[in-house]
Amino acid sequence: MNDGAPAHPDGHGHVDVAKVTLSEEIVDRASVASTDVAEYATWLGDDALILAQQLGWWISRAPELEEDIALGNIALDLIGHARSFLHYAGTATGRSEDDLAYFRDEHEFRSVHLVEQPNGDFAHTIVRQLLMSLYLFELYRELAGSADATLAAVAGKAEKEVDYHRDHASQWILRLALGTEESRERLLVALSDLWPYVEELFRDEPLHDVLAGIAVRPSGLREAFDRVLTDLFAEAELARPRTPTTSGGGRRGQHSEYLGYLLTEMQVLARRHPGATW
C-alpha cells in the first residue's frame, strides 16, 4: 500500500473495527448538583430521554435500512445526553439515572410537549426532530459556556452531535418538501400538527432567573432558531404554519396524554423488579 500501512490479512483494507479506544460513556465530573441545578438538568435530560425513546421505535421500521441506522445513531446520541444530565440531576438526591428514568411518575417528568408527540408517519418524526434539533443546538451552544462545569461539558459534546441531527433533519425536510406531491402533502400536515408545540420551547420559567449564568434563557434562542428555520423553509418552498399555540406546561409537570402511555411502556419491566440490577 502506498502509505506504507500493512495490508489486512483478509485483503479487507486496514479499517479495523476491533481497535478502538474506549471513551467515557457519560459525562461525569464527580460534582454534586444543587437542588435548582438538578431540577434544570432534569428538564434537559427528560427532553432527550423522551425523544430517544420515541426514535428507538423506528429501528426495524424505517423507510430504508440506511435510515434505520441513521435514526439509531441519533437515538443513541440522545440517550447519551439523557444519561449524563439525569446522572448529574440524581447527584442532588442520591438517585441514579435509572431511578430518575424509571421510578418517577408522569407528573414528575419535565419534558416539553413537543417530544411527547407521537411518531406519526416519517414526516411527523422528521419535523419533530428538526424543531427539537434546531432548538437544542442553539441551547447547547449557549450552555457550553455555562458557569456550571458539568452542564457545560455535557452541552459541549451534545452540541456537536445535535449539529449533525439538524443537518439530517434538514436534508429530509428538503426531500419531503420538494420530492413528490404525496411527500409534500404529508410534510405540510406534519408541520401544521407540530407547530403548536414550538412556543413552549422558548418560554422562560422562574428557574431560569434563579440560575442566571448557569441555565440558558430559552427566549433568547428564538431569534437564531427562526433565522435557521426561515432559510430552510425558503429553500424548501415552505410557509410557516399558522396553527395556534398550545399552552404547554411540561416544565411544571403538566403533560399531554401521550406521555403516560410512553412511560408505562418504558418503565414496566424496571418497576416490576424494584431494586434489581440489570
Binding site: 483478509d10 423507510p63 439523557a82 419491566l269 440489570w278
Partner: protein
C-alpha cells in the same frame, strides 16, 4: 451491469478450468470472474437469505428496545439491533455483486418467496430473551459465520469479516445480561433459566439439518462456500456453550448432555426435527407477524424512498440545466 454481461457461455472449458483452479488453490472468486451458473444461483440464495435473517432478526430484539430495564441496556440493545440492519445491508450489497438488486431481494422477502433463519420465528417473551438471543443465537451464528470469512466468493467473505468483528460484542452483551439475571433476584434467575430453556434447542437447529439430510451442503463444500458440515459446527457450538452455562449457573435443557472422553466432545440428545420443519414451513409462532412487520415497513416507507428519488432527479436536472 446489464444482464447480457452476466450470461457468459457456461460451456467454456477454459473458463471453467480457471474457476476450478482458483477454488483449488484457495484463491477468491471476484464479481466479474466467470463462474458456473449454479455457483452464482447458490450464492445469491445463501447471501440473500443470510441478509434477510439479519433484517428479520432485528424484530425480536427491537421488541424490547422501548422496555429495556435500564438506560445503559437500552443503548446497548439499540446499538445491537442497529448493527443488524448494517449486517443485512453489507450482505445485500454482497449479493448485489452477483446481479440481483436490493429491491428484488426486498420484494422476494415480503412476498414470502425467500427464506430466512427460522430461529427468528420464535417470540422474545421476556427481557431474559435478550440475553439468550445474544448468547445462544448470536453464538451459533458466529460459529456458522467465522468459517464464512474464508468463503470462496470475495465480497461475501469480506462482508463476513466485518460482520464477525462487530458480532463479537453481541454475544458478550447477551452473556452479560444472563449473568446479571442469574446473579440477581430469584425472579430474575428464573427468567434467565426460562429463556435458556426456550432458546437452546432452536439455536441448535440454526446449524441446519443433519449432514445426511442436507441437500445443498456437499456442493457448497466443494465450492468452498461452506467449509464445515452442519453437524461439525453444531458440535463445536455445544462444546463451547456447556462450560459457559456453568459459569452462568444455568442449566441447558438437555438431560443427555454428557462429556464423552473417547470422542473429546459432548454427547447430546436428539433434536426434534419435526418442530424444525414445522417452523421452517412457516408454521412457527411468529412467522406471520414477522412478515407483516417487514411488509409494513417496506410499504409505509415507499413514499419516502420515492420522494428522495424524485428530489434527486429534480436536482440533477436543475444542475444540468444550469450547466448548459
Amino acid at each position: 451491469m446489464n444482464s447480457a454481461e452476466l450470461t457468459l457461455p457456461a460451456t467454456d472449458d477454459a473458463q471453467e478450468r480457471y474457476f476450478q483452479e482458483l477454488i483449488d488453490r484457495d484463491s477468491r472468486i471476484e464479481p466479474r470472474d466467470w463462474m458456473p451458473a449454479e455457483y452464482r444461483t447458490s450464492l445469491i440464495r445463501q447471501i440473500s437469505q443470510h441478509g434477510h435473517s439479519e433484517i428479520i432478526g432485528m424484530q425480536p430484539e427491537a421488541n424490547w428496545i422501548t422496555r429495556a430495564p435500564s438506560l445503559k441496556r437500552k443503548a446497548i440493545l439499540m446499538a445491537k439491533v442497529q448493527d443488524e440492519a448494517g449486517h443485512g445491508l453489507y450482505l445485500y450489497s454482497a449479493a448485489q455483486t452477483l446481479g440481483i438488486s436490493r429491491d428484488e431481494m426486498a420484494e422476494q422477502l415480503i412476498a414470502g418467496k425467500a427464506r430466512y433463519s427460522s430461529i427468528f420465528n420464535y417470540p422474545a417473551l421476556t427481557w431474559a430473551d435478550m440475553g439468550a438471543i445474544g448468547w445462544l443465537v448470536d453464538g451459533a451464528a458466529i460459529c456458522n459465520q467465522v468459517p464464512l470469512c474464508r468463503a470462496s466468493y470475495g465480497p461475501y467473505a469480506r462482508a463476513m469479516v466485518r460482520i464477525c468483528k462487530e458480532e463479537s460484542f453481541h454475544q458478550r452483551q447477551g452473556f452479560e445480561i444472563l449473568l446479571e439475571l442469574s446473579q440477581g433476584t430469584a425472579a430474575q434467575k428464573e427468567m434467565a433459566q426460562d429463556a435458556v430453556n426456550r432458546w437452546y434447542w432452536p439455536s441448535l437447529m440454526m446449524f441446519g439439518p443433519p449432514d445426511d439430510e442436507s441437500p445443498n451442503s456437499a456442493q457448497s463444500m466443494a465450492w468452498k462456500i461452506k467449509r464445515f458440515s452442519n453437524d461439525d459446527l453444531r458440535q463445536r457450538f455445544v462444546d463451547m456453550v456447556v462450560p459457559q452455562a456453568e459459569v452462568l449457573g444455568l442449566t441447558l435443557p438437555d438431560p443427555e448432555l454428557a462429556w464423552n472422553e473417547d470422542r473429546g466432545h459432548y454427547d447430546m440428545g436428539e433434536i426434534d426435527w419435526a418442530e424444525f420443519h414445522e417452523v421452517l414451513a412457516g408454521r412457527g409462532p411468529c412467522n406471520a407477524q414477522r412478515m407483516q412487520r417487514r411488509r409494513d415497513a417496506h410499504e409505509d416507507g415507499r413514499w419516502v424512498r420515492e420522494a428522495a428519488a424524485a428530489y434527486a432527479e429534480k436536482q440533477a436536472a436543475a444542475s444540468l440545466k444550469a450547466a448548459s
